[in-house]
Each structure stands twice: as C-alpha cells, then as structure tokens.
C-alpha cells in the first residue's frame, strides 16, 4: 500500500537517507529505529507529503504521496505544552473527524455520533469531557489514536507515540494500536527509540543509520553483525529476558567525535 523505491531525502546540505526501498503491506506493523537525526521523523513527514524526495519515488495506494491524504493517520508524541491540552478529549478527537474542512461546522448529530463511536473504540468515553491537561499521558495517547482513526486510515504513522509514557501506559497504547491494525487492516509505521514495548507486535524493523538502512524481521536486523556493519562501528546487541539492549550505537551519526554509550532498553 506504501511503496518506496530508491528514495533519497536531502534537507539543506544533508542527505538523511538514500536508496531507500520499502513496502508496507496492509495490516503490517513496521517499527522504524535509528539514532537521533537518522531521518526517522523525516521519513514520516515525507510520507505525509511535507518533504519532497531528492530522488526515487514514494507511492501511496498507487499514486505519489501528497499533502493532506485523509487515508493516512498520524499520531504525534505526547507533549505537555500544546494548546490542545486546554480542550476536552472529545474535542481533540473531533478535530480528526472534520477539522480540515472549511466553514464553522455547526453542531451536528452525525458528527457527535461519529466522535462517540471513536471514543468508544479507544476506551476513552468515560473521560471524554475532561480537559486533556487533566488526563494521564496514556489517556491522552488513547485520544490521539481515536483522532487518527477518524479518517478510516489505510496507513498509520506514529511518531514516538510512547515518548514520555510510563511502562504500563506504553504497553496499553501500543496494544491499542496493534489491536486496531489487526481489526481494521491498516499498515503501521511506528517510529520509536525503544523497540522493546512493541517487540512482540512488529512484523518487521526498519533501521536507519548513516544514511543507509536495513529492513527485515527483528531477529534478522537487531544483531551485533548487522548493526555494526550499518554504523561501521562496534555495536553489541544483547538479548536478555526477552528484551533487546543495543550498546555502543553512536548517537549522532555525523559527528566527528562520537561518544558511544548505552541506554538499557533503548536504541541509543
């Protein structure tokens, strides 16, 4: 449904990735991993039509990607300072239903029922009238999932949706996204710096580093050999208690003086 061939993204003087080939099948869950600045978020922005490709092509549902395609859902990272924190949960979901249309959008029964249906689908009905700022991070991200489901997406783009959530909320939110992609059959591109919360759900992993990439099942990509070759540096992948720890991945791929370090449970 999303088909990327030989894609190159250049922002300013910097080429983030080149020769990228990627196919996302309906219902497929792909985690996008890599260091800060490796172009994970920019990949999502490219799919959203916000960054033009320098080379290659990117097709969504058979046509080149464009801005404002309702069939692509988008879930951003939860942030404390957004003006969206001041509105109620159901109003946040409502923005996803018809927020991009012109006109005042007088109150309507059809829209109210649609919002109720979406709130119900993500289990947010009982706190829908509470201002978002009074909700926990996990509750806020449930609303974000509901908002993104509003367009009946074929593809869901998630940009660090688990960022700043506690472990329990991370599990709840990733399971919610996983359940809906199975029920509704949309593909998922899930950008995350920590693969562990979704390790049991992902079909494949896309790992971006140094402008290059590897894609495949988690077991094929998340190995010391593959990542050392990608980073062209000594990288150790340690598997312990069903978790993956990546040690020694340079944080900024383009710095001359790199400081390799490890974050337990994270891709550094």
């Amino acid at each position: 449904m999303l088909s990327v061939r030989g894609a190159q993204l250049t922002l300013g003087a910097r080429t983030l990735w080149t020769g990228l080939d990627l196919d996302v099948a309906p219902g497929e869950f792909i985690a996008v991993l890599g260091s800060n600045g490796s172009g994970k978020t920019s990949l999502l922005k490219t799919v959203l039509g916000q960054h033009p490709l320098a080379a290659g092509e990117m097709l969504f549902a058979g046509a080149p990607v464009r801005r404002g395609d309702r069939r692509i859902g988008y879930i951003p990272q939860q942030r404390g300072q957004d003006p969206a924190m001041r509105i109620r949960g159901r109003d946040l979901v409502r923005l996803g239903v018809d927020g991009e249309r012109w006109g005042p959008g007088w109150p309507s029964r059809a829209r109210r029922e649609r919002v109720d249906e979406l709130l119900d689908a993500v289990g947010a009905s009982h706190y829908a009238r509470v201002p978002v700022s009074l909700l926990s991070g996990g509750e806020q991200q449930r609303l974000r999932v509901g908002q993104a489901l509003a367009g009946d997406p074929l593809l869901m783009l998630c940009d660090e949706p688990l960022g700043s959530l506690d472990l329990r909320a991370q599990r709840v939110v990733s399971e919610l996204i996983d359940r809906h992609r199975r029920e509704r059959g949309f593909g998922v591109l899930f950008v995350t710096h920590d693969v562990n919360p979704v390790l049991g759900m992902v079909d494949r992993v896309l790992y971006l580093a140094n402008g290059r990439f590897r894609i495949g099942a988690p077991d094929e990509v998340l190995t010391s050999e593959v990542l050392s070759e990608l980073y062209q540096a000594e990288v150790d992948v340690i598997r312990t208690h069903g978790r993956v720890v990546i040690v020694g991945a340079p944080d900024h791929a383009h710095h001359d003086h790199e400081h390799p370090h490890a974050h337990p449970g994270e891709v550094a």
Partner: protein, 289 residues
C-alpha cells in the same frame, strides 16, 4: 463627590440621548460580535501581547493619517495590517513574536506621538485615538465599522474549523493538509482589521479589553468549542453595549466603562471557574481510580 457622580452617571433626558446616539450603541454591538469571536483565537494562539503591539502601530497609522490628511480610519487600518503581517511573518514562534512585538510597540507609539505633536488641529480628537472617544459615532464611521467587522466575522466563520485545528493541534493539522502557514497569515490580517476597528471606540491602549478579556473570561468557565465563542461574544457585547449605554449621558470617554465591565465579568468567571476546575479534577480522578 456628587459632582463626580453626575459626571460619571447622568441619565437625565436619557431617551432623547439614546435616540440621538443610537449609532454608538450599534457600533458597540457590531464590534462586540467581531471582538468576542476573534478573541477566542487570540487566546488559543497566544497572541495577547501581539494584539497590544498591533494596536500601537495602528495608533501610529491613525495619527499619521490625521497629519497627512489620508484619514484616521484609513491610516489605522494600514498601520494595523503592516504590524499584523510583520508579527505574523517574522514571528512564527512565541518567543520571536514577543520580541518583535516589544520592538514594534514603542516605535509605533513614538511615531504616533510625533505625528500628533505636529498636527495643528484640536487636541481632544488626538487623545481619543489612545484612550477612546466620547460618545459620537457618525453614519460614515458606523458604516465602515460595520464593513470591517463584517469582514472579520465572515472570514472567521469560513476559516473556523481549519483555523481551530491549526491553532490547537498544528502538527496533526499539517499532517491532514491544513494550510497552517497561510491560515496564520490570513488570521493576522483579520486581527489587524479587528484592532483597527476597536481603536475607534476604546482607543489604542485599551484594545485588549475587547479582544482578550472576554475570551479569557469565557475560557475560565467553559471549554467546549461551542460555549467558549458564544460566551466570549456575549461578554464582549455586554461590555461594549453596556459601557456605551452607561457613558451616554456622561462627559467621560466610553473606554473606562467598557474596561470596567469586562474586567468585572472576568473576575466573576475566575471565581466561578475555580470551583468548577476543582470539581473536574475530582471527577477525573474518581474516574481513573
């Protein structure tokens, strides 16, 4: 003491005055509608300080218009639009916007004072630009006020949903194809027009009482996308029309009445909203437990 009182509130021959000055009341109503609606977005987009900056440049434009004979109204609209576009285009982030506003504001005020100092005419109409005028809105003035406010209201209604989306949730709005940047510029144009209209009634220094206070009060007691604009508009209408009705018989400008009423409404809303917020917190916690 009684002297002050009769200066402030004098309702003798009120019926005749009202008939004579009904233009002022209509002007207040039209401005209240536009100001209450645009105020909602001034609050969500965090533009209160920018409004103040725009109004100082609008004052400069009006003063220059007076001096050069272009016309006060024309001058204030030009000044407003220049300031609104400068702030809108140069200050996309809150911090940049605040510093640009802070730089523009004294420059505009100084320019305005210079133009007024050079203007040979009467002094009363000069100060009206800063602190609002004594009740008297002529037919042509009401006409252009209605046109400007009409443009603001219609413009806002057309952009309402995408502008709300872009103001509240810019990242997801952009992902959905909302033209976030173009809407921001269009909004600044409407804001400039609303400021230019407000200056004619309450003066450049007190514009915030129409474009910010009513919306700030509404946000204290409501959070629904329907009730916030409805209440904000109602508060702005009550402040302006109420202020003008009180000011009709007095020898004092309209502005202190308007600013006092809108401030009192805000106080009441803050007190009412505090109780409400506490209860909501409890509801939220009770639900989560």
């Amino acid at each position: 003491m009684t002297d002050w009182w009769t200066q402030l509130f004098d309702f003798s021959d009120y019926g005749a005055l009202l008939a004579l000055l009904h233009n002022s009341v209509l002007a207040g109503a039209v401005l209240g509608l536009a100001g209450g609606l645009i105020g909602v977005f001034v609050m969500t987009r965090d533009l209160a300080f920018a409004v103040h900056g725009i109004s100082e440049l609008s004052f400069a434009g009006a003063a220059a218009g007076l001096l050069l004979g272009i016309g006060v109204v024309e001058g204030s609209i030009i000044g407003s639009l220049v300031a609104a576009l400068l702030i809108g285009l140069l200050g996309s982030r809150a911090r940049e916007r605040n510093s640009i506003t802070a730089v523009l504001m004294p420059f505009g005020l100084g320019l305005g004072i210079l133009c007024l100092a050079l203007y040979p005419g009467r002094a009363t109409s000069k100060f009206g630009l800063l602190t609002g005028q004594i009740v008297a809105v002529g037919d042509p003035q009401l006409g252009w006020l209605a046109v400007v406010c009409g443009i603001v209201v219609v413009g806002l209604l057309v952009m309402w949903r995408p502008l709300s989306f872009a103001s509240l949730d810019a990242e997801v709005a952009a992902a959905r194809g909302v033209p976030v940047r173009a809407l921001s510029v269009a909004f600044m144009v409407l804001l400039g027009l609303a400021v230019a209209a407000s200056i004619q009634i309450v003066g450049a220094l007190l514009v915030l009482s129409i474009l910010v206070t009513p919306a700030a009060a509404a946000l204290r007691v409501a959070s629904s996308p329907v009730w916030v604009p409805v209440l904000s508009t109602a508060f702005a209408l009550v402040s302006l029309v109420g202020g003008i009705l009180l000011a009709l018989g007095s020898s004092v400008p309209i502005s202190p009445y308007v600013t006092t009423i809108s401030f009192l409404i805000w106080i009441v809303c803050v007190l009412a909203g505090r109780r409400r917020r506490d209860r909501r917190t409890l509801v939220a916690k009770g639900v989560a437990a």
